[in-house]
């Protein structure tokens, strides 16, 4: 019998109780939130459990929600069980003031670079990461550019002289 979302949810709540919450299924993928300090324990459980077997880490990324007080940054993990072909999405929220989340790089080798990328863009401090430094941006950078306080220029703005930027103006 293949693994269903209900069964995964049941196993997780049995094992972790209140630590996991917010179960939903947007577009069919089981999504849930975990308390920040338990991310590794939950992934280890999902990895080791003979029934769950989520042994492939598809992706790690983060999202910045400036309006959520004390949980501004969400780290999102996508895990995949190849045998039953089921995916789950795990989220942990961290405050932007001290975004410390345990690293998954001991569990999945692929987490190493994915976490470096997430650190580079969102400043998530992956505790225990062996080499947490910038990966795509320059080392001298002092900010985390994917956060929402660094918006791109609005394409509709009219307050600047286009001529100075090689656009429009008089010939």
């Amino acid at each position: 019998m293949s693994l269903t979302n209900e069964r995964i949810q049941q196993r997780l709540t049995e094992k972790f109780g209140d630590v996991v919450s917010g179960f939903e299924e947007p577009y069919g993928m089981l999504t849930f939130t975990a308390q920040r300090d338990f991310n590794l324990k939950i992934m280890q459980f999902l990895f080791d459990d003979e029934e769950l077997r989520f042994q492939f880490l598809t992706d790690i990324t983060a999202v910045h929600y400036p309006e959520r007080k004390n949980e501004e940054l969400a780290v999102v993990y996508h895990l995949h069980n190849f045998q039953d072909n089921v995916r789950v999405r795990l989220k942990v929220f961290a405050p932007v003031a001290a975004p410390k989340v345990f690293t998954a790089s001991k569990l999945f080798l692929s987490a190493n670079w994915m976490e470096r990328e997430t650190y580079d863009f969102f400043g998530i401090d992956f505790v225990g990461h062996p080499n947490l430094k910038r990966i795509l941006n320059v080392d001298e950078m002092t900010y985390f550019p994917m956060r929402k306080e660094f918006p791109l220029e609005d394409s509709m703005r009219t307050d600047k002289d286009d001529e100075m930027f090689g656009r429009g103006g008089n010939i």
Partner: protein, 406 residues
Amino acid sequence: MQDQKQHIKLPEGSIEKTTQTLNLGPTHPATHGVFQNILEIDGERIVSAESTVGYIHRAFEKIAERRPYYQITPLTDRLNYCSSPINNMGWHLTVEKLLGIELPKRVDYMRVIIMELARIADHLICNSVIGVDTGALTGFVYLMTYRELIYEIYEEICGSRLTTNIGRVGGFERNFTPAAWAKLDRFMAEYPAVLKEFETLLTRNRIFIDRTSGVGGIDAQRAMSYGFTGPNLRAAGIDYDVRVANPYSSYQDFDFNVPVGTTGDCYDRYLVRNAEMWESLSIIRQAMEKIKGLPEDVYHADVPEFYLPPKQDVYTKMEALIYHFKIVMGETDIPKGEVYNAVEGANGELGFYLISDGGRSPYRLHFRRPCFIYYQAYAELVQGAMLSDAIICMSSLNLIAGELDA
């Protein structure tokens, strides 16, 4: 015993000092793009390696947060530019999943044809370049003609060749012309013989086998832990293919095999890609057969509020003009939601993680780029190998700088 020596601090200029540091790249003709590899070499043997990326990072994910959904398609073109139609379709499929758009079968099959053509174009470049890196230019020259023909098919369909921007949310911008079908027929008639000849040239070639077999091997467990997907994972012996696991665009209607290897070395990766090209040819043939029974004038879903109308209609019909403006200016209603959608890109699972807050642009868009994930393993794959193996290893992983950096 050499690796024991490397940490011993010897006086400057000592003849006992055997390792030296070599920067392979960032812009070296053999690195196929802008990758830097800092290699510690002992003679020609690589003792350790460190990979550095980010030389062409263009902040696509950030740019996407300011763009209406349509204008993100050109960004996806520039990820894996050897097979940009797959990226485009992957993006359209993600948006369609968010919007809940159902496509007519004919559109699905047209997409399958384009995606498989793109897969062939990508694999033929990758495999023939492995040939070039081992010193065999002939195969590359043979196959390049056919990539050209594939590009001509794209050109016939959408007007451009490399960064195709092909298709629309909901289908295609226009129907395949008779000339496109004729070119496709020509490709299908001629390419199998050329591919066979290419295989004859390389697959049993003594030099080629010596240079690739046993080089850059990785076992299944480790490949999985490193997050490998696509041909690189299948070469290690795991038959994971997104087209089979989570079929999209009616892939479930087609009968095809998923070739797997055993040792996960460069030779296996080459064999898997070659076998996949045969499977792709078979899929295209099936799709062309299936498409014949379907109404010929259907090339998009009937969703005017999301499907960007053809230019001719915009010029001549008021409805189309209104929809065109609404879509281009991002005035259409986009549902809130969170979608992860993956397609089998030519070099692995290409995933789009999209969060919509109902605005004209995605709140957050993340590309899961297979190259980025492979490249982490590169340092381990080349450790202990010869310097010349480092080049083969890089080309057989099918690393594309555009996708790596995004």
